[in-house]
């Protein structure tokens, strides 16, 4: 009697390898599940999140921008719309990633009992974490591409190379926010706590050098803001967009690497504690 089937053969292949108790090597199947739900239900909400930064660009870039005129940043004089554009791109990537990794993840975890089902299969907790975070990142990434397309049609892109590099940067930003977002959400116990995340995002958006340079703040406030993830994101995306490449890129990338690894670590740990203990 042989009972070796495809699922078992796959599982045995990973047997004894490092991390085989939490990782089966299939986070893609979790993202695949999300892709299937997209066409049926959440299509509209998917679009809604992307529209927000575009509206900001139009309202502030052209509305307020008409009064502001040009702005001088890093010694370059550019239009106000061109100044806020990279910041809104970074925000767009953040929004997409955060929305999915907080509200959607919370719903799947607390109400749909999806992770319970997934973890009754041969998937590990790291598969679920990576799959969900990867999906949230994908969403942020799609928002970023959409935003850049709109910006391009308005003639605000400094260069094609800068735009492509900025999209890659936005992908990294989305990954980092998705990872931390899901990490936090996995510890969240109520909708009220979840609302807090959304609530904190607004001041971070307003004061991270999005709509005006940080130089108007006293130095201590600048130092504080520089430590915020959106500020780091805006810097990275803006530098990439303007092809303003320097060693400071590495400090941003290190910052995001910490966010990504930290988020994955806590998410995996929490999922194990919640569903496999």
């Amino acid at each position: 009697m042989s009972f070796i089937n495809a699922a078992i053969a796959l599982a045995e292949r990973r047997s004894g390898k490092l991390g085989s108790s939490i990782f089966a090597g299939r986070p893609g199947t979790v993202a695949e599940r999300n892709l299937r739900t997209l066409k049926s239900s959440s299509g509209l909400t998917f679009v809604a999140g992307f529209v927000e930064p575009v509206l900001f660009l139009i309202a502030f870039g052209y509305g307020v921008g008409g009064m502001v005129g040009t702005i001088t940043d890093h010694g370059k004089t550019i239009s106000y719309a061109a100044y806020i554009m990279p910041a809104l791109l970074a925000t767009s990537a953040m929004n997409g990633a955060i929305f999915d990794s907080t509200w959607n993840v919370y719903f799947k975890m607390q109400f749909a009992k999806l992770y319970q089902g997934m973890l009754a299969t041969s998937l590990g907790t790291l598969d679920v974490a990576l799959g969900e975070i990867g999906w949230a990142m994908f969403r942020g990434f799609v928002y970023a591409i959409g935003f850049v397309t709109v910006v391009g049609s308005l003639g605000l892109l400094p260069s094609l190379g800068g735009a492509l590099l900025a999209i890659v940067a936005a992908g990294i930003v989305a990954f980092a926010f998705a990872s931390v977002g899901m990490g936090i959400t996995s510890y969240v116990k109520s909708f009220q706590q979840l609302d807090m995340i959304t609530f904190l995002l607004l001041p971070m958006f307003l004061f991270s050098g999005t709509l005006f340079p940080l130089s108007i703040f006293p130095e201590w406030a600048q130092a504080l803001i520089n430590a915020l993830p959106l500020r780091q994101s805006i810097d990275l995306v803006r530098d990439c967009m303007n092809l303003n490449l320097s060693w400071s890129l590495f400090s941003h990338l290190t910052y995001f690497a910490v966010m990504i690894i930290g988020g994955l670590f806590f998410t995996t740990r929490r999922l194990t504690a919640l569903f496999l203990r």
Binding site: A11, S21, T29, T37, A112, A120, R277
Partner: protein
Amino acid sequence: MTKSSEPELVIRAKGLRKTYGDFVAVAGIDFEVKRGEAFGLLGPNGAGKSTTMRMITSTLQRTEGELQILGKDPDKFGPEIRAHLGVVPQQDNLDRQLTVWENILVYGRYFGLSRKFLKNKIEELLAFAQLEDKRNVKSEELSGGMKRRLTIARGLVNEPEILLLDEPTTGLDPQARHVLWDRLFRLKELGVTLVLTTHYMDEAEQLCDRLIVMDKGQIMAEGSPAQLIKDYSSKEVLEVRFGSTGNADAAKKLQKIGDRIEVLPDRILIYSENGEKALEQLTKMGLKPVTSLVRRSSLEDVFLRLTGRTLVD
């Protein structure tokens, strides 16, 4: 792959224990499940059945004791062991946003199965679950019985060696239960090992080759349904009612009839090898029960004998 004719043990628990702080959910139990058998955990709510089940599915870590599933420790080889298992949880956790067909597909993909393999497999499972004409229906729109069948079909997608069912028919109407039992019989015929928890004695009698009776985290008895009834009960039971006030008085006079009596709030059970004869004796004594019924002993009686309580309160 054992050489001897002795069937292989697929689950082995020794001193298995689970505590939450001071609360003891499972108090150190021993049991074994052989390949191909239908093994039941019977007991009331809170007996520790589901906790035991979750430890077997390697989604809950034990506090103490040994547990081996197919020779492996579930705490160390979770994903690997789960590749061999089919899990049907107590509460349906189907993917509500997906259709019936997609539910099975996506679940199969979690196991890493190819779309090509799944295409045929899903047809087979839809036929098995009698859900072929519901393939494009969202799972949230199914009836309770259909949801259960889909959950079972989903649990079979990886062709598991052991199918674990936690309260498979709770909340279903009688017809839906019988359809489900029929499907489970077929699986048994195919050689799938079934492990199920239930608090329905008829379900345990119908489906299980062997079972353990659990109460308060402990095993009270173990054996086949027939053996348990033989060991812990008489062949027949006479149930008599004397109205809510008459039961206690009548019970005093009934001590000499049958092997043993059990006084419940609403009725008196008289355990006897011959129920009709016991009823005759009772009438000769001048007692006039409001209603009387002679039936065969069931696992319910076994449970009552072992714990002094009924299964479903």
